[in-house]
Symmetry: C2
Subunit: 236 residues, 2 copies
Amino acid sequence: MADQPEKRGVTFREIKSDLLERIAAGEWAADGIVPGEVELAAEYGCARATVNRALRDLAEDGVVERKRRAGTRILAQPVRKARFDIPISRTEIEATGARYRYALVDRAIVEAPDWLRARLALDRGAHVLHLTCMHYGDGAPFQFEDRWINLSALPKAESQNFEAQGPNEWLVETVPYSDAEIAFSAIGASPDVAEHLSCDPNTPLFRIERTTWWQDVAITHVALMFRPGHRMTTRY
Amino acid sequence: MADQPEKRGVTFREIKSDLLERIAAGEWAADGIVPGEVELAAEYGCARATVNRALRDLAEDGVVERKRRAGTRILAQPVRKARFDIPISRTEIEATGARYRYALVDRAIVEAPDWLRARLALDRGAHVLHLTCMHYGDGAPFQFEDRWINLSALPKAESQNFEAQGPNEWLVETVPYSDAEIAFSAIGASPDVAEHLSCDPNTPLFRIERTTWWQDVAITHVALMFRPGHRMTTRY
DNA sequence: CAGTGGTCTAGACCACTGA
DNA sequence: CAGTGGTCTAGACCACTGT
C-alpha cells in the first residue's frame, strides 16, 4: 500500500464517531448489519485492527452487537450502559472537600440470620461478624453502614476491633479485587437508622447493598443507607 | 519464565489475571509502580501490544492508573466501577417474562418551570411538553414516568400523541446516541404517584432521573419512579 | 529531553457459528 | 465449511510529561 504520507492514518476514534453518525443516519437500516471489518478497513484506508478497535468500542457502549459468523449488527434499541464509580465512603466524602469521620456503632459475633445464610450460602449455625458504623462529613451524618462478615471465610476479621478503621477500608486492603453483586433501592429509615442519620423514621433513604465473593466464597454483605436526599450521579 | 516457545502466545486475559494476582500479592507494593510494557512483554514472552491490552483493561476496571511518562501505578484503593444497563421499561419488563402495557396518563404543553429551565438551560418562557405515563408488568404497576421534552430542540414531539408508544421508545428511535446525565435516589411517593403505583403516600420509591443532550442542546428530562421494593442490580 | 504509554500497520492464525 | 470477528506479532512513530 503506497499510503499518501499526507495523514498519519485514521484514528479509531475518528472511525468510531464516523460510524456512529452513519448508523444514526440510517445508512445500514435495511438489514441492520454493518459491513465487515475488512471492507471498512479498505473504505477508511486503514488496518483492520483499527476498525476492530472502533467496532469493539461501539459494542462495549451497547450500540452494536458482534458475533463471529454473523457480523456486526446494530442494536435496534441501544442498551444504554451507565458506569458508576463505587467509592469508599471516606473517598466520597473527602472528594467533596468535607472532613471525614468514622465511628463504630456496634460490633457483635452472632449466628447468621436466615436471610443472610441464604444470600451468602452459609452453613446452618455459621457465625458472622455484625458491624454497624457511621460515616460523617464535616460532622454531619452521611451514611449508615450495616455490615456482615463471614468469619469462616475471613477468620482474621475477628481480631479486628474496627474502632479506628472502617470495615470497608480494611476489607479493600485485605481482600482486593473480589467479585461483587450490587443493588440500588429505596427504603424507609428504621427507628435505629433514623436516629443515627438524624432524620425521621420512615424517611425515604437511598440504599446500596453489596455482596462480595472471593473465589466463589461469600466474604461480606453490606447495606449502605445514605442521608436523606442523597443522589448518586454519573454521565454516560 | 519457562514459557514453551511452541505455545500459541500468551493471551491478554492470562496476562491480566496474572497481573491481578501479582498486584494482590503485593509484588510491587514498594512504590506501587508496575514494570513498563516493554519489560512485561519480555517477561511474558509476548508482543508489547498484548501487554498493553491487558494493562488497558486493568485501567478500565479501575485497578491501575496509567500516565505517559510516569508509568502504570497501582491504585491504593481501587475505584470499583459498576456498570448498569439502562433498559427501556418495555425491555425491562418483558425480560422478566411479564406482559408489558403502557398507558399515557397526561399530556400538556406548558411553560417550563424554573427548576427545569435551570437544569436544561432553557430560555425564559420556553415551552415544554410534559408527559406522565405508566408502565405495567402483567397488569401490575411497575413504573411511573414523569417526562419533560424541550420543544424548541425537538419540535416534532408536539405532533406525537404518545398514546400508543411511550416517549422513551419514541425518543430512542428519534434521537439515538445522545449524551446523558443520570442520577439514582430515593423519594417518598407523592399522593399522585402513590395512586398510580397503588401504594401509600410517602412510600419510599427508587427513582432514576435522567437528562439527555444532543450536541449540547438539552432534549429531555425524565424522572422514573419504580414500584415499592424495586431493586436495580448488577455484578462487577 | 528521554522514557513511557497511545496508537497504527500489515500480516497471520484461530474459534466460533450460521448458511 | 466458509466467512466473520478475536487475538497475537513485530515493528514503528507519536504525544505527553516528569525529571
